[in-house]
Each structure stands twice: as structure tokens, then as C-alpha cells.
Amino acid sequence: MPTEDEARAEALVIRHAAAAYDRTPVLEGVDGVVHAGESVALIGPNGAGKSTLLKAVLGLVPVVHGSITVLGRPPLAARREVAYVPQADTLDTEFPVTAGQVALMGRYPRVGWVRRPGRADRQAAAAALGEVGLADHAGRRFGSLSGGQRQRVLLARAIAQQARLLLLDEPFNGIDASSEELLLAALRRLRAAGAAVVVSTHDLALAHLFCDEVCLLNRHQFAFGPVATTLTPDLLRATYGGHALQLRGDSVILTQP
């Protein structure tokens, strides 16, 4: 369990930040803090800037206003302790690499240039695969696994990296239920161990279930706060511009006013 101090440690601090690709900001007014052991959901329609925000935290997109501080440092300086989990579909399924090798990739920054991963690294990668329930799939080619399995392998890579901040880009899109459960369980364990987790997702029920806070985005931030007070129909309607939404289970359905 994290200590009082560690729990209050600020993993990610965003102060009135705006991000831009060229000169025109695509995302503005983002403001919030994520503490160690907390999880935040980034919620908003397509094109809202969720991916942009994740990339800004990684230092891949310039911040043209305000600031982003990652683990007490500027984004570029903190990269080794920040793990990015992309959508599994963005990766080539024909590539001749095994699940085990992908998980091991998370250890590369730690291993450093030129040196080969050692036994400790291999064990960490194997353990990470175990965390997501794929320990016996290490020898399988990454592309031959199902979508949900591939997403879990990518999370295992982040686990192997032993990052203190994890950024996940829509990890629950189109994956099977058991993979989703395994992903959530692993994320919960990471959170309990003190990591901060930022997840962009469309799945409001999931955000409700798993996250402590949500950040509502659509080109600018509409709200950032605890799930209970922020994931409300009014704020959601404002964020999504009143479009029709369908949720799982017995959650709210918003329609065009």
C-alpha cells in the first residue's frame, strides 16, 4: 500500500494547458492533477483531443500554453517512467515478433543501449505476461493472437516497464469480455501498487466502474473531477454536444435535445 506521502504524490499535473500541432491549438484549457494510485478517464467524442492530450503528456505534441508536469519533471524528461499503451490495431500483425518479445520491449529503456536484456529483464517480462493472463502465450507470434489478447500483451509491456504513470489509448475498444476483465484486474493491481493511470475511452460505464476521476474533453476541457460529480448527464450532454449516446447496463442514454 502506498504511504500517505506517496499517495498524495502528484504523478501528472496539467495547468491550463493548450496543445497544438502547428500553430493552431487543437486542445485548450486542460487543467487537473492525477495522484499516484489514482486513475482518470479521458472522455469525449472522436476528434476531441484525447489522443492529443496523451501525446502532449509524452512530449510528442508541443504545449503552447500553460504547463504539463510529469512526475515532477517536464514531459520529455520523464519518458522512461511513463508507459504508453497504444491500441493493438495500430500494430502490424504480420510482424515476426512473439508476445514474449513484445513484453520484453518494455525493459529496453532500463537495459540501455547496446546491452542485451538480462535474466532479471526476462523474468520481469514473463511476470508481466502472467499479470495479464498470457504467461503460456509468450512463444506465440503477436499477430496471431486475438485483439483482446494483443491489447493485454501491450499492457504487459507497460507493466514490464515498471512505469509510474500509464497512458492507455482506448484500450477497451472492440475487445472480448474476458480480456476486458483481465485488463481491468491488472490495472487495479497497478493502481494499488502506486501507479497513476490515464485511460481514454468511450465506455462511460467502464469509466464509472474503474476510474476515480474523469476529464471531459471536446477541443477544450468541460470538466475534471471525481466520477460521481462529473459523469453527469448535463456535463456529458455539453461535452458531446447533445448527440445520441448508448451505454451498457442501466446507464443513461442521452439524446438530441
Binding site: T24, V26, G47, A48, G49, R219
Partner: protein, 298 residues
């Protein structure tokens, strides 16, 4: 029409000029399609792959271009088949075909008589020795290619942008793709006398890429591209005559220079005007998707 027959049978300079203009126009126009479909590498491969056809034609005493053309069609089929296989990507497949066919040609040639002058002319062109028969072939091919492109214009454009959509509308999308590849092959083969096979891809790619820097609309792009191709041909010929250097290569360098110049000064996408336009009303996330769409049409 006597000027036409005179042009075709006139001095070597007149023939060279006519060949340069015809090849320039046809290359320029089809080049727009080549860019739309991301086929410059394929075009380069075509230039290399038709080589065995040339050697075989020489052995058989047949017109070289005919041999190249026929062999090229075999190659188009090979590339299409390979592309459908798993575990090999299109780029590597084209690379293998390019290397394999060219080596085959070199092998046949060396077996026959060792390396001769014909080889270089094939690779880098020899426009000043263009014969009336070559001119005729170029003219006929040009008419066929431009005619096909005009007739199938909307289908080919849709197929480049959205192959699934084309098939969904009931068109034979794969056949149309192959037709496109064959048309490219025809243009490459008929560029041989002017610029040779290795450089033919330049006349096909550069004018079209230059035109794209000046306009976003397809029709004007094609017209401009054809004009630039012809201009490159004329200017290149004149410069090469004055400096006494290889004509085909000079034509290519002119086309490349036009491209480089346009990169710097062209308004919509050129470097200088962009810096003059600082802030625009924010289009938010639109600017990201802007790039991806325009990349597709580039």
C-alpha cells in the same frame, strides 16, 4: 497535314523534339494517377523489369519496344499475384521482381554477346537516335493511354481513393487496377528512347508532383503536369544540345529542377508563402485530419 509527316520524317533534331514532347505529355498525365496510387516504386520496377523483354526481342529480331511491352505485361501479372500472398508485403514483392527480372536481362545479354552499347541506350535513353518507327509507336501509345485515361477517368480516380467503394458499386475493381498497371507499363516502355528505363519514372513522377504543389484540383493537375512534362522535354533537349551532354538525363534534371523550385515558391504548399500566413482562425482538430486527407490525394 504535311507538317506532320514532315515532322515524323524530318531531321533527327525534329524527331527528338517531337518524341520529347509526346513522352512528356503522356508521362505527365499518367503521372498524376501514379502519384494518387502511390506507384512510383512500381513504375521504377517496370523500367527494370522490361529489360529481359528487350534482350529477348533483340535476339528474336523483333522491335525492342514490342518485346519490352509484352514482357512487361507478364511482370504486371507477377506483381499482382505476389501482392496477394501473405508474408510478403507489396514493397518487398516489387523489389524482388525488380531485381530478379533485371538480373535475368543482364544474364541473357551477357550470354549472348557481353555488354554492348544497346544496354546503355536502353537504361538512359538515346533520344537523338529516335527513329520514325519509334515516333509512331510513341504517338499511337500516347493516344491509347490518354484515351483510356479519359474514358475511365472517374472510375480510376474512385478506385485510387476508395477501392472498396468502387467494388461496392459493382465495378470490376481488380481489373481496373490491372488496366492501370498496364497503362503505366506502356508509358514506361515508350519512354525508353527518350529517357531510358531508369529515368522514365522521373518524367512520370516529377511533373505530376510539381503540378500538385500548384493546384488541388485533379483536372488542372493533369493539364499542368502534361505541360510541365513537355516543357521539361523541350528545355532539356535545348540545354543538352548546348552543353553537349546526355539528353535524357538533362530532361530529367530540368523536371527535377522545376519540382525543387516549386517546392520553394508554390503558394499553397510551398515553404515561403506558408511562413507569411501566420495565424488563421483555429480549425481545431480539423488541422490534423486536413493533413491526412491531403496526404491521400497527394
Amino acid at each position: 497535314m504535311s507538317w506532320l509527316t514532315e515532322a515524323f520524317s524530318g531531321s533527327f533534331a525534329q524527331r527528338a523534339l517531337l518524341e520529347a514532347v509526346m513522352v512528356g505529355i503522356v508521362s505527365g498525365v499518367i503521372g498524376v494517377h501514379v502519384l494518387l496510387r502511390r506507384l512510383p516504386f512500381f513504375t521504377l520496377a517496370m523500367g527494370h523489369a522490361t529489360f529481359p523483354g528487350v534482350v529477348l526481342a533483340a535476339l528474336a529480331g523483333v522491335n525492342l519496344l514490342v518485346g519490352a511491352g509484352l514482357f512487361g505485361m507478364l511482370v504486371v501479372v507477377a506483381v499482382a499475384l505476389l501482392g496477394a500472398r501473405e508474408r510478403i508485403d507489396d514493397t518487398s514483392a516489387i523489389g524482388v521482381v525488380l531485381a530478379g527480372t533485371f538480373a535475368l536481362g543482364v544474364l541473357l545479354l551477357s550470354a549472348q554477346s557481353g555488354f554492348t552499347k544497346d544496354l546503355s541506350a536502353y537504361l538512359v535513353g538515346s533520344i537523338v537516335t529516335v527513329q520514325p518507327a519509334d515516333l509512331l509507336i510513341t504517338a499511337v501509345t500516347g493516344v491509347v493511354v490518354l484515351g483510356a485515361l479519359a474514358t475511365l477517368h472517374k472510375e480510376l480516380v474512385l478506385g485510387a481513393f476508395d477501392p472498396g467503394g468502387l467494388a461496392a458499386l459493382g465495378y470490376p475493381a481488380v481489373t481496373l487496377d490491372i488496366v492501370m498497371l498496364l497503362l503505366i507499363e506502356l508509358v514506361v516502355v515508350t519512354s525508353v528512347p527518350a529517357v531510358g528505363t531508369i529515368l522514365s519514372v522521373a518524367l512520370i513522377t516529377a511533373p505530376a508532383a510539381t503540378a500538385r504543389l500548384w493546384t488541388d484540383r485533379l483536372g488542372p493537375t493533369m493539364v499542368l503536369s502534361g505541360a510541365l512534362g513537355a516543357a521539361s522535354g523541350i528545355i532539356g533537349l535545348v540545354v543538352s544540345r548546348n552543353l553537349n551532354v546526355a539528353a535524357g538525363a538533362t530532361i530529367v534534371l530540368v523536371a527535377a529542377a522545376l519540382f525543387a523550385g516549386s517546392l520553394v515558391i508554390a503558394p499553397r504548399r510551398g515553404a515561403i508563402p506558408r511562413r507569411l500566413v501566420h495565424r488563421r482562425a483555429g480549425r481545431g482538430a480539423g488541422s490534423v485530419s486536413d493533413v491526412s486527407v491531403s496526404e491521400r490525394l497527394a
